[in-house]
Amino acid sequence: MKVGDIMIRDISAIFEDETVERFIRLCANHLRTGMPVVDDEMRILGYISENDIVNAVIPSYFSMLQSASFIPDTNQLKKKLHLIKDEPISKYMAKSVISVKESDTLLHASDLLIRHKFFSLCVVDEEERLTGLVNRSRILLGVLQELEEEKNENREN
Protein backbone atom coordinates (compact mmCIF):
# COMPACT_ATOMS: atom_id res chain seq x y z
CA MET A 1 0.00 0.00 0.00
CA LYS A 2 1.20 3.47 -0.92
CA VAL A 3 0.51 6.96 0.42
CA GLY A 4 -1.70 7.59 -2.63
CA ASP A 5 -4.04 4.76 -1.53
CA ILE A 6 -4.86 6.17 1.88
CA MET A 7 -4.29 9.93 1.64
CA ILE A 8 -7.02 12.53 2.12
CA ARG A 9 -7.46 14.41 -1.13
CA ASP A 10 -8.13 17.78 0.40
CA ILE A 11 -6.04 20.66 -0.91
CA SER A 12 -7.39 23.37 1.37
CA ALA A 13 -4.57 25.83 1.68
CA ILE A 14 -3.82 29.37 2.68
CA PHE A 15 -1.64 32.01 1.02
CA GLU A 16 1.30 33.58 2.80
CA ASP A 17 -0.13 37.10 2.78
CA GLU A 18 -3.33 36.09 4.61
CA THR A 19 -3.64 37.38 8.16
CA VAL A 20 -3.33 35.50 11.42
CA GLU A 21 -6.99 36.26 12.15
CA ARG A 22 -8.08 34.75 8.82
CA PHE A 23 -6.05 31.64 9.59
CA ILE A 24 -7.61 31.23 13.03
CA ARG A 25 -11.13 31.56 11.59
CA LEU A 26 -10.49 29.12 8.74
CA CYS A 27 -9.10 26.53 11.13
CA ALA A 28 -12.03 26.91 13.49
CA ASN A 29 -14.56 26.47 10.67
CA HIS A 30 -12.73 23.54 9.10
CA LEU A 31 -11.80 21.82 12.40
CA ARG A 32 -8.16 21.86 11.39
CA THR A 33 -5.10 22.39 13.52
CA GLY A 34 -2.99 23.75 10.70
CA MET A 35 -2.81 24.41 6.98
CA PRO A 36 -0.26 24.27 4.20
CA VAL A 37 0.82 27.67 2.91
CA VAL A 38 1.07 27.70 -0.88
CA ASP A 39 2.19 29.98 -3.71
CA ASP A 40 0.03 30.72 -6.75
CA GLU A 41 1.09 27.45 -8.38
CA MET A 42 0.06 25.40 -5.31
CA ARG A 43 3.66 24.74 -4.40
CA ILE A 44 4.21 24.49 -0.66
CA LEU A 45 5.98 27.45 0.93
CA GLY A 46 5.41 26.49 4.54
CA TYR A 47 3.00 25.13 7.09
CA ILE A 48 1.15 27.14 9.69
CA SER A 49 -0.30 25.49 12.76
CA GLU A 50 -2.28 26.79 15.70
CA ASN A 51 0.77 25.93 17.77
CA ASP A 52 2.77 28.55 15.88
CA ILE A 53 0.20 31.17 16.83
CA VAL A 54 -0.11 30.03 20.44
CA ASN A 55 3.65 30.18 20.79
CA ALA A 56 3.63 33.67 19.37
CA VAL A 57 1.02 35.01 21.80
CA ILE A 58 2.21 33.55 25.09
CA PRO A 59 5.31 35.01 26.68
CA SER A 60 8.37 32.88 26.04
CA TYR A 61 9.10 32.27 29.75
CA PHE A 62 5.82 30.34 30.06
CA SER A 63 7.41 27.16 28.89
CA MET A 64 9.70 27.29 31.92
CA LEU A 65 6.84 27.55 34.39
CA GLN A 66 5.01 24.63 35.96
CA SER A 67 1.77 26.59 36.02
CA ALA A 68 0.60 29.94 34.70
CA SER A 69 -2.25 30.23 37.17
CA PHE A 70 -0.55 32.70 39.48
CA ILE A 71 0.13 35.22 36.72
CA PRO A 72 -2.26 38.09 37.44
CA ASP A 73 -2.51 39.63 33.97
CA THR A 74 -4.59 37.36 31.74
CA ASN A 75 -5.03 40.26 29.38
CA GLN A 76 -1.54 39.57 28.08
CA LEU A 77 -2.89 36.97 25.68
CA LYS A 78 -5.53 39.35 24.39
CA LYS A 79 -3.05 42.19 23.96
CA LYS A 80 -0.57 40.03 22.12
CA LEU A 81 -3.14 38.50 19.81
CA HIS A 82 -4.54 41.95 19.08
CA LEU A 83 -1.03 43.01 18.08
CA ILE A 84 -0.44 40.17 15.67
CA LYS A 85 -3.91 39.36 14.31
CA ASP A 86 -3.48 41.51 11.21
CA GLU A 87 0.03 40.34 10.48
CA PRO A 88 0.70 37.98 7.58
CA ILE A 89 0.99 34.32 8.48
CA SER A 90 4.30 34.10 6.62
CA LYS A 91 5.83 35.63 9.74
CA TYR A 92 4.80 32.69 11.92
CA MET A 93 4.71 29.68 9.59
CA ALA A 94 7.28 26.92 9.58
CA LYS A 95 9.26 27.39 6.42
CA SER A 96 10.85 23.99 6.08
CA VAL A 97 8.10 21.54 5.27
CA ILE A 98 8.55 17.83 5.01
CA SER A 99 6.28 16.27 2.42
CA VAL A 100 5.71 12.88 0.84
CA LYS A 101 4.80 11.70 -2.64
CA GLU A 102 1.80 9.54 -3.51
CA SER A 103 4.19 6.77 -4.54
CA ASP A 104 5.95 6.69 -1.14
CA THR A 105 5.39 3.74 1.17
CA LEU A 106 3.36 3.95 4.38
CA LEU A 107 6.49 2.99 6.29
CA HIS A 108 8.34 5.99 4.90
CA ALA A 109 5.44 8.32 5.83
CA SER A 110 5.18 6.88 9.36
CA ASP A 111 8.91 7.21 9.81
CA LEU A 112 8.71 10.93 8.97
CA LEU A 113 5.71 11.45 11.24
CA ILE A 114 7.46 9.86 14.20
CA ARG A 115 10.89 11.35 13.56
CA HIS A 116 9.55 14.90 13.34
CA LYS A 117 6.70 14.49 15.84
CA PHE A 118 4.12 15.59 13.23
CA PHE A 119 0.48 14.57 13.15
CA SER A 120 0.08 15.00 9.43
CA LEU A 121 2.20 15.44 6.32
CA CYS A 122 1.53 17.23 3.04
CA VAL A 123 1.39 15.06 -0.07
CA VAL A 124 2.79 16.60 -3.27
CA ASP A 125 3.02 15.62 -6.94
CA GLU A 126 6.18 15.41 -9.07
CA GLU A 127 6.20 19.19 -9.43
CA GLU A 128 5.95 19.68 -5.66
CA ARG A 129 2.34 20.88 -5.87
CA LEU A 130 -0.05 20.03 -3.04
CA THR A 131 -2.38 17.08 -3.75
CA GLY A 132 -3.55 16.22 -0.23
CA LEU A 133 -2.63 15.16 3.27
CA VAL A 134 -1.79 12.03 5.16
CA ASN A 135 -2.10 11.63 8.92
CA ARG A 136 -1.37 9.02 11.56
CA SER A 137 -4.85 7.52 11.74
CA ARG A 138 -5.08 7.14 7.94
CA ILE A 139 -1.79 5.26 7.91
CA LEU A 140 -2.94 2.97 10.72
CA LEU A 141 -6.23 2.41 8.91
CA GLY A 142 -4.29 1.53 5.75
CA VAL A 143 -2.18 -1.00 7.63
CA LEU A 144 -5.29 -2.58 9.18
CA GLN A 145 -6.78 -2.88 5.71
CA GLU A 146 -3.63 -4.58 4.46
CA LEU A 147 -3.75 -7.03 7.35
CA GLU A 148 -7.33 -7.93 6.50
CA GLU A 149 -6.49 -8.39 2.83
CA GLU A 150 -3.63 -10.72 3.74
CA LYS A 151 -5.92 -12.71 6.01
CA ASN A 152 -8.45 -13.11 3.22
CA GLU A 153 -5.75 -14.19 0.77
CA ASN A 154 -4.50 -16.82 3.18
CA ARG A 155 -8.01 -18.13 3.62
CA GLU A 156 -8.45 -18.43 -0.14
CA ASN A 157 -5.18 -20.34 -0.46
Partner: protein, 321 residues
Protein backbone atom coordinates in the same frame (compact mmCIF):
# COMPACT_ATOMS: atom_id res chain seq x y z
CA UNK B 1 -6.16 16.31 -12.93
CA UNK B 2 -8.32 17.33 -15.89
CA UNK B 3 -11.61 18.49 -14.40
CA UNK B 4 -12.50 21.27 -11.98
CA UNK B 5 -16.07 21.66 -10.77
CA UNK B 6 -17.40 24.77 -9.07
CA UNK B 7 -20.26 24.59 -6.57
CA UNK B 8 -20.67 27.94 -4.91
CA UNK B 9 -23.72 26.83 -2.94
CA UNK B 10 -23.46 23.12 -2.09
CA UNK B 11 -26.23 21.35 -0.25
CA UNK B 12 -26.80 18.29 1.82
CA UNK B 13 -29.66 16.35 0.28
CA UNK B 14 -31.45 14.29 2.89
CA UNK B 15 -34.06 11.81 1.81
CA UNK B 16 -36.23 10.06 4.32
CA UNK B 17 -38.46 7.29 3.04
CA UNK B 18 -41.59 6.96 5.17
CA UNK B 19 -44.54 4.91 3.90
CA UNK B 20 -47.90 6.42 4.88
CA UNK B 21 -46.34 9.65 6.04
CA UNK B 22 -48.70 11.68 8.21
CA UNK B 23 -48.57 15.00 9.97
CA UNK B 24 -48.60 15.17 13.71
CA UNK B 25 -47.43 11.56 14.06
CA UNK B 26 -44.29 9.89 15.28
CA UNK B 27 -42.60 7.91 12.53
CA UNK B 28 -39.86 5.52 13.46
CA UNK B 29 -37.41 4.58 10.73
CA UNK B 30 -35.81 1.21 11.38
CA UNK B 31 -33.63 0.83 8.34
CA UNK B 32 -30.63 3.06 7.90
CA UNK B 33 -31.01 2.86 4.08
CA UNK B 34 -34.26 4.79 4.39
CA UNK B 35 -32.33 7.78 5.70
CA UNK B 36 -30.11 8.98 2.92
CA UNK B 37 -27.65 11.85 3.18
CA UNK B 38 -26.10 12.84 -0.09
CA UNK B 39 -23.76 15.69 -0.92
CA UNK B 40 -25.45 17.87 -3.51
CA UNK B 41 -25.19 20.99 -5.59
CA UNK B 42 -24.76 20.74 -9.34
CA UNK B 43 -20.96 20.94 -9.55
CA UNK B 44 -20.51 18.39 -6.77
CA UNK B 45 -23.01 16.12 -8.54
CA UNK B 46 -20.87 16.24 -11.69
CA UNK B 47 -17.76 15.39 -9.65
CA UNK B 48 -19.50 12.44 -7.99
CA UNK B 49 -20.85 11.19 -11.30
CA UNK B 50 -17.47 11.46 -13.02
CA UNK B 51 -15.99 9.48 -10.18
CA UNK B 52 -18.57 6.72 -10.72
CA UNK B 53 -18.10 6.90 -14.48
CA UNK B 54 -14.75 5.32 -15.23
CA UNK B 55 -13.12 6.65 -12.03
CA UNK B 56 -12.47 10.06 -13.52
CA UNK B 57 -10.82 12.22 -10.87
CA UNK B 58 -11.75 15.87 -10.40
CA UNK B 59 -11.22 18.80 -8.10
CA UNK B 60 -14.33 20.23 -6.41
CA UNK B 61 -14.30 23.85 -5.24
CA UNK B 62 -16.74 26.16 -3.51
CA UNK B 63 -17.91 27.19 -0.07
CA UNK B 64 -18.96 24.95 2.78
CA UNK B 65 -20.30 26.13 6.10
CA UNK B 66 -20.81 24.76 9.57
CA UNK B 67 -21.98 21.33 10.59
CA UNK B 68 -23.86 20.70 7.34
CA UNK B 69 -20.78 21.70 5.39
CA UNK B 70 -18.66 19.25 7.33
CA UNK B 71 -21.09 16.41 6.62
CA UNK B 72 -20.91 17.25 2.91
CA UNK B 73 -17.11 17.13 2.87
CA UNK B 74 -16.97 14.02 5.05
CA UNK B 75 -19.42 12.13 2.82
CA UNK B 76 -17.49 13.17 -0.28
CA UNK B 77 -14.24 12.10 1.28
CA UNK B 78 -15.59 8.73 2.39
CA UNK B 79 -17.54 7.78 -0.71
CA UNK B 80 -15.68 9.50 -3.52
CA UNK B 81 -11.97 9.22 -2.72
CA UNK B 82 -10.89 10.47 -6.14
CA UNK B 83 -12.67 13.79 -5.77
CA UNK B 84 -10.08 16.24 -4.48
CA UNK B 85 -11.68 18.72 -2.10
CA UNK B 86 -10.78 22.37 -2.21
CA UNK B 87 -13.59 24.06 -0.30
CA UNK B 88 -13.37 27.16 1.80
CA UNK B 89 -15.05 26.59 5.13
CA UNK B 90 -16.92 29.74 6.02
CA UNK B 91 -19.10 31.03 8.86
CA UNK B 92 -22.76 29.99 8.67
CA UNK B 93 -24.39 26.74 7.62
CA UNK B 94 -24.50 25.12 4.18
CA UNK B 95 -27.87 24.50 2.57
CA UNK B 96 -29.87 21.46 3.49
CA UNK B 97 -32.71 20.00 1.45
CA UNK B 98 -34.90 17.54 3.26
CA UNK B 99 -37.42 15.44 1.35
CA UNK B 100 -39.78 12.98 2.92
CA UNK B 101 -40.82 10.41 0.34
CA UNK B 102 -43.96 8.40 0.74
CA UNK B 103 -43.78 5.89 -2.09
CA UNK B 104 -47.12 4.37 -1.26
CA UNK B 105 -49.24 7.52 -1.46
CA UNK B 106 -46.78 9.21 -3.87
CA UNK B 107 -46.28 12.24 -1.66
CA UNK B 108 -43.12 14.25 -1.46
CA UNK B 109 -42.78 16.71 1.41
CA UNK B 110 -39.82 19.03 0.99
CA UNK B 111 -38.11 21.40 3.38
CA UNK B 112 -35.28 23.55 2.02
CA UNK B 113 -33.02 25.40 4.43
CA UNK B 114 -31.18 28.54 3.32
CA UNK B 115 -27.46 28.68 2.61
CA UNK B 116 -24.77 30.79 4.27
CA UNK B 117 -23.79 34.35 3.40
CA UNK B 118 -20.40 34.60 1.75
CA UNK B 119 -18.25 37.47 3.05
CA UNK B 120 -15.84 39.41 0.91
CA UNK B 121 -12.60 37.92 2.32
CA UNK B 122 -13.97 34.44 1.56
CA UNK B 123 -14.78 35.41 -2.01
CA UNK B 124 -11.30 36.89 -2.49
CA UNK B 125 -9.75 33.74 -1.06
CA UNK B 126 -11.87 31.65 -3.42
CA UNK B 127 -10.80 33.68 -6.46
CA UNK B 128 -7.15 33.29 -5.55
CA UNK B 129 -7.52 29.55 -5.03
CA UNK B 130 -9.42 29.25 -8.30
CA UNK B 131 -6.56 30.90 -10.22
CA UNK B 132 -4.12 28.53 -8.58
CA UNK B 133 -6.08 25.42 -9.48
CA UNK B 134 -7.41 26.31 -12.93
CA UNK B 135 -3.92 26.46 -14.40
CA UNK B 136 -3.65 22.70 -14.04
CA UNK B 137 -7.02 21.59 -15.41
CA UNK B 138 -8.55 21.22 -18.89
CA UNK B 139 -12.25 21.54 -18.16
CA UNK B 140 -14.04 23.83 -15.73
CA UNK B 141 -17.65 23.09 -14.83
CA UNK B 142 -19.53 26.07 -13.41
CA UNK B 143 -22.93 24.99 -12.29
CA UNK B 144 -25.85 25.95 -10.13
CA UNK B 145 -26.83 28.96 -8.10
CA UNK B 146 -24.72 31.31 -6.01
CA UNK B 147 -25.19 32.02 -2.30
CA UNK B 148 -25.95 35.47 -0.90
CA UNK B 149 -22.84 37.64 -1.02
CA UNK B 150 -21.57 36.32 -4.34
CA UNK B 151 -22.13 38.95 -7.07
CA UNK B 152 -23.90 37.96 -10.29
CA UNK B 153 -20.85 38.66 -12.45
CA UNK B 154 -18.74 36.09 -10.57
CA UNK B 155 -19.38 33.30 -13.08
CA UNK B 156 -18.27 35.50 -15.97
CA UNK B 157 -15.03 36.30 -14.13
CA UNK B 158 -14.45 32.59 -13.48
CA UNK B 159 -15.28 31.79 -17.10
CA UNK B 160 -12.80 34.38 -18.33
CA UNK B 161 -9.99 33.14 -16.09
CA UNK B 162 -10.64 29.51 -16.98
CA UNK B 163 -10.55 30.33 -20.68
CA UNK B 164 -7.31 32.28 -20.26
CA UNK B 165 -5.77 29.14 -18.76
CA UNK B 166 -6.91 27.12 -21.78
CA UNK B 167 -9.87 25.40 -20.10
CA UNK B 168 -13.10 24.49 -21.83
CA UNK B 169 -15.89 25.95 -19.72
CA UNK B 170 -19.20 24.15 -19.15
CA UNK B 171 -21.99 26.27 -17.71
CA UNK B 172 -25.31 25.15 -16.34
CA UNK B 173 -27.28 27.94 -14.72
CA UNK B 174 -30.47 29.91 -14.99
CA UNK B 175 -31.87 33.40 -14.67
CA UNK B 176 -29.77 36.50 -14.43
CA UNK B 177 -26.68 34.45 -13.63
CA UNK B 178 -26.90 32.66 -16.98
CA UNK B 179 -27.68 35.83 -18.95
CA UNK B 180 -24.84 37.75 -17.34
CA UNK B 181 -22.25 35.05 -17.91
CA UNK B 182 -23.25 34.40 -21.52
CA UNK B 183 -23.15 38.12 -22.34
CA UNK B 184 -19.91 38.97 -20.56
CA UNK B 185 -17.76 35.92 -21.26
CA UNK B 186 -19.63 33.12 -22.95
CA UNK B 187 -18.53 29.59 -21.97
CA UNK B 188 -17.90 26.95 -24.68
CA UNK B 189 -20.74 24.70 -23.57
CA UNK B 190 -23.95 26.22 -22.22
CA UNK B 191 -26.89 24.28 -20.87
CA UNK B 192 -29.63 26.53 -19.52
CA UNK B 193 -31.13 25.02 -16.40
CA UNK B 194 -34.84 24.74 -17.19
CA UNK B 195 -36.03 23.44 -13.84
CA UNK B 196 -38.84 25.63 -12.50
CA UNK B 197 -38.49 28.28 -15.20
CA UNK B 198 -39.51 28.83 -18.79
CA UNK B 199 -37.25 31.85 -19.24
CA UNK B 200 -33.87 31.80 -20.95
CA UNK B 201 -31.79 34.96 -21.35
CA UNK B 202 -34.64 36.94 -19.87
CA UNK B 203 -37.13 35.77 -22.51
CA UNK B 204 -40.06 33.47 -22.09
CA UNK B 205 -39.82 30.48 -24.40
CA UNK B 206 -42.78 28.42 -25.50
CA UNK B 207 -42.81 27.77 -29.26
CA UNK B 208 -40.01 26.03 -31.12
CA UNK B 209 -39.22 29.32 -32.86
CA UNK B 210 -38.70 31.08 -29.53
CA UNK B 211 -36.38 28.30 -28.43
CA UNK B 212 -34.50 28.52 -31.74
CA UNK B 213 -34.00 32.24 -31.39
CA UNK B 214 -32.62 32.04 -27.88
CA UNK B 215 -30.33 29.11 -28.77
CA UNK B 216 -28.88 31.02 -31.69
CA UNK B 217 -28.50 34.09 -29.52
CA UNK B 218 -26.29 32.18 -27.05
CA UNK B 219 -24.20 30.83 -29.95
CA UNK B 220 -23.80 34.40 -31.22
CA UNK B 221 -22.11 35.30 -27.93
CA UNK B 222 -19.45 32.68 -28.60
CA UNK B 223 -20.74 29.30 -27.37
CA UNK B 224 -19.53 26.21 -29.26
CA UNK B 225 -22.41 24.11 -28.08
CA UNK B 226 -25.75 25.05 -26.57
CA UNK B 227 -28.12 22.40 -25.25
CA UNK B 228 -31.69 23.25 -24.35
CA UNK B 229 -34.13 20.71 -23.04
CA UNK B 230 -37.35 20.95 -25.06
CA UNK B 231 -40.73 19.47 -24.24
CA UNK B 232 -39.34 16.73 -22.05
CA UNK B 233 -38.42 14.16 -24.72
CA UNK B 234 -36.28 16.42 -26.89
CA UNK B 235 -33.06 18.36 -26.72
CA UNK B 236 -32.28 21.25 -28.99
CA UNK B 237 -28.63 21.48 -29.98
CA UNK B 238 -27.06 24.64 -31.33
CA UNK B 239 -23.52 25.05 -32.66
CA UNK B 240 -22.06 27.71 -34.98
CA UNK B 241 -22.79 25.19 -37.79
CA UNK B 242 -26.53 24.92 -37.21
CA UNK B 243 -29.33 23.57 -35.07
CA UNK B 244 -30.58 20.04 -34.48
CA UNK B 245 -33.33 18.37 -32.54
CA UNK B 246 -32.58 15.18 -30.66
CA UNK B 247 -35.57 13.01 -29.88
CA UNK B 248 -35.92 9.99 -27.64
CA UNK B 249 -37.66 7.46 -29.86
CA UNK B 250 -38.34 4.54 -27.60
CA UNK B 251 -38.78 3.95 -23.95
CA UNK B 252 -40.81 5.73 -21.34
CA UNK B 253 -39.28 8.43 -19.21
CA UNK B 254 -40.40 8.51 -15.62
CA UNK B 255 -40.95 12.15 -14.73
CA UNK B 256 -40.36 11.49 -11.04
CA UNK B 257 -36.85 10.23 -11.83
CA UNK B 258 -35.44 13.45 -13.21
CA UNK B 259 -33.25 14.27 -10.19
CA UNK B 260 -29.66 14.67 -11.38
CA UNK B 261 -30.30 14.07 -15.10
CA UNK B 262 -28.71 17.40 -16.05
CA UNK B 263 -25.61 16.54 -14.07
CA UNK B 264 -25.40 13.07 -15.67
CA UNK B 265 -25.65 14.85 -19.02
CA UNK B 266 -22.69 17.10 -18.26
CA UNK B 267 -20.60 14.32 -16.69
CA UNK B 268 -21.12 12.09 -19.73
CA UNK B 269 -20.17 14.87 -22.15
CA UNK B 270 -16.98 15.49 -20.19
CA UNK B 271 -16.16 11.80 -20.21
CA UNK B 272 -16.74 11.79 -23.97
CA UNK B 273 -14.54 14.87 -24.41
CA UNK B 274 -11.68 13.33 -22.42
CA UNK B 275 -11.77 9.91 -24.07
CA UNK B 276 -12.89 10.41 -27.70
CA UNK B 277 -12.67 12.96 -30.49
CA UNK B 278 -16.36 12.93 -31.27
CA UNK B 279 -18.07 15.87 -32.96
CA UNK B 280 -20.03 18.28 -30.77
CA UNK B 281 -23.29 16.78 -31.98
CA UNK B 282 -22.20 13.24 -31.09
CA UNK B 283 -21.03 14.55 -27.73
CA UNK B 284 -24.45 16.05 -27.02
CA UNK B 285 -26.09 12.80 -28.08
CA UNK B 286 -23.88 10.91 -25.67
CA UNK B 287 -24.91 13.30 -22.89
CA UNK B 288 -28.56 12.82 -23.72
CA UNK B 289 -28.18 9.04 -23.70
CA UNK B 290 -26.65 9.30 -20.22
CA UNK B 291 -29.46 11.54 -19.00
CA UNK B 292 -31.95 9.04 -20.38
CA UNK B 293 -30.18 6.10 -18.78
CA UNK B 294 -30.19 8.03 -15.50
CA UNK B 295 -33.99 8.16 -15.46
CA UNK B 296 -34.12 4.43 -14.82
CA UNK B 297 -32.95 5.27 -11.29
CA UNK B 298 -35.02 7.21 -8.79
CA UNK B 299 -31.98 8.53 -6.99
CA UNK B 300 -29.21 10.76 -8.25
CA UNK B 301 -27.00 8.04 -9.69
CA UNK B 302 -24.64 7.83 -12.63
CA UNK B 303 -25.55 5.16 -15.17
CA UNK B 304 -22.82 2.79 -16.33
CA UNK B 305 -20.99 3.19 -19.63
CA UNK B 306 -22.85 0.21 -21.08
CA UNK B 307 -26.24 1.67 -20.07
CA UNK B 308 -25.32 4.87 -21.87
CA UNK B 309 -24.22 2.97 -25.00
CA UNK B 310 -27.51 1.07 -25.02
CA UNK B 311 -29.51 4.30 -25.11
CA UNK B 312 -27.54 5.83 -27.97
CA UNK B 313 -29.63 3.96 -30.55
CA UNK B 314 -32.83 5.33 -29.04
CA UNK B 315 -31.99 8.88 -29.99
CA UNK B 316 -32.94 10.29 -33.36
CA UNK B 317 -31.14 13.34 -34.75
CA UNK B 318 -32.82 15.75 -37.17
CA UNK B 319 -31.32 18.92 -38.58
CA UNK B 320 -33.46 21.99 -38.08
CA UNK B 321 -31.39 24.77 -39.51
Amino acid sequence: MDVLTITMNPALDREIIIPHFQLNTLHRVFEREKLISDPGGKGINVSMMLSKLNDTPSIAMGFLGGYTGRIISEELRKRYPNVTLNFIHIDGESRENISILDEINHYITEINAPGPVVQEPDLLHFMKLFNTVVSRTKITVISGSVPVGVPLDTYSILSEKAKESGNKVYLEARGQLLTNTVKKCCPEVVRPDMRSTNKIMGKEVESLNEYMEVGKEIVSYGAELVIISYKFKHDLIFTPEGAWILTIEQGELDESHLLGTGDAYVAAMIHDYLTTNHSLLERAKYGMAAAMAKTTYLKKEMPSLSDIEKNLDNIKIEKLD
